[in-house]
Symmetry: C2
Subunit: 282 residues, 2 copies
């Protein structure tokens, strides 16, 4: 397994692989890898000749007062996990390497898909994401790039960006990986104390209950919304950021419960903001 910190070296190496006719699978991450990330790596390993995993805590997708400084980093442990899954290359550039002095170019998806949910709570977040992902795509030239359904909005935005800007690659969506008690895996779970961790289980439970109610015939969007809200509010530490019921295809507001429906939420426990979601087919 090779480790690259340099944009040009990474790019030349990927270019060489492509020249040899090999397909490249890219897994963009911010590191501190958990089984969710590893499921992406395993999928890439199965589909592609070459697996590249990027590890980069991207400053421009964090807002003021967010956790950029404290975001957990553990490159050595990550490297060991990735070596174990036969990753071919890690790309772990420094911030100056990705954003040199005078950096000024950005990629942005506009419209409803970025304006609501995490886009409303975290202004500029998705612009930071689409910019860094564009850079990674240009540097690594993947045939396929792997993203987790955990970040449902991010995934839809990246798919939209790829389609609209004609990026020559395929986005592969992988399901959410959960702890045995149902908490969606996240590098940020490490921030939770025992009590917060326990109360956070309500997120998956509320989503599952709502999905069951929909599958059982409930079609009243407001009612489902209220049920989720009521369930979460049983936990005293939970502060709801948003609960959204929208089209699983493009995040537009639903007029009726039909098609692929995304139940998504962001809730703070103490200082830790968690997101979770569930897709239901009606």
């Amino acid at each position: 397994m090779q480790l690259f910190n340099n944009v040009n070296a990474m790019h030349e190496w990927c270019r060489e692989q492509k020249k040899q006719g090999k397909t490249i699978g890219l897994v963009p991450t911010m590191g501190y890898l958990h089984d969710g990330h590893m499921s992406l790596v395993k999928a890439a390993r199965q589909d592609c000749d070459i697996v590249v995993v990027s590890i980069f805590v991207n400053p421009i997708q964090f807002g003021q007062g967010e956790d950029y400084e404290t975001y957990p980093r553990e490159l050595e442990k990550d490297s060991a996990l990735l070596a174990n899954e036969k990753t071919d290359a890690i790309f772990a550039p420094g911030v100056k390497e990705m954003y040199p002095a005078g950096y000024d170019a950005y990629v942005e998806v506009q419209g409803a898909i970025t304006g609501k949910m995490c886009g409303a709570s975290r202004p500029g977040h998705f612009k930071g994401v689409t910019t860094v992902v564009s850079k990674l795509f240009h540097i690594c030239q993947p045939d396929r790039a792997y993203f987790g359904q955990k970040d449902a909005q991010q995934l839809l935005i990246i798919k939209k960006m790829v389609r609209d800007l004609n990026f020559p690659l395929e986005i592969v969506r992988m399901p959410i990986v959960r702890e045995s008690d149902g908490l969606a895996m996240s590098s940020r779970n490490v921030y939770l104390n025992a009590e917060e961790r326990q109360q956070a289980l309500v997120l998956n439970q509320a989503l599952k209950t709502a999905a069951n109610n929909i599958r059982g015939g409930e079609r009243d969007i407001k009612k489902i919304h209220q049920q989720i809200k009521d369930m979460i509010e049983t936990q005293p530490l939970a502060q709801i950021d948003y609960i959204e019921i929208s089209s699983g295809e493009n995040l537009t507001d639903l007029e009726e419960m039909r098609g692929e429906i995304l139940l998504a939420l962001a809730v703070k426990f103490g200082k830790t903001r968690l997101i979770d979601n569930l897709l239901v087919e009606v």
Copy 2:
């Protein structure tokens, strides 16, 4: 020579060329080709195995009240010129093909380089340019892309975009091609009536005079600026949009006359807005 109107077909064809190890040169144009464009095509023909010329009048780089509707189009004549230079493929997509319903992704270079000159006179113009050029790069996968020094600001912005977003290609700059009387070639010259056409010669003359004065030792930026202004104002039909003296490298304002200096201007004659520029090395 092949003609493609379809994004996927163009992309697949370029992908096939790359697979065969061929280098691709792309010349992005809005058509109505003149010798300026053809100098780019000839350079691409010399440098690359495959030459692709795109012809697309890009609606999103035109502002309200600008000449999108009336911009001259002549695909058949363009095709004949390109066939004559052994162009391999023309990419001439329709607007819906490039911007389908619900289109929402944009690429933007921010900062001083886009905020002044044509960026100030034509808000949104360069965002439209960088977006369409990004799309063309993704579709055609060029090793090199050719742009004319005539659009000096556009060229610097695209170079900046390529560098910042790590596009895997080289931007080649080609010098301005002029009519025998010195008027910079432009598809928009066709709009000029005889009188406007005659008076427009002052642009190149004023730039040349200023460059000669600088080469002769003049270092006072304000004085040079005033000289250009005075000369242009001798022509009664000329309405100055801007005259700028800035760094030829990144368009920053000059504190002193040093390095590569760009003398650039935009002037209207009747309804026709012309741009011209000249680089001087001090």
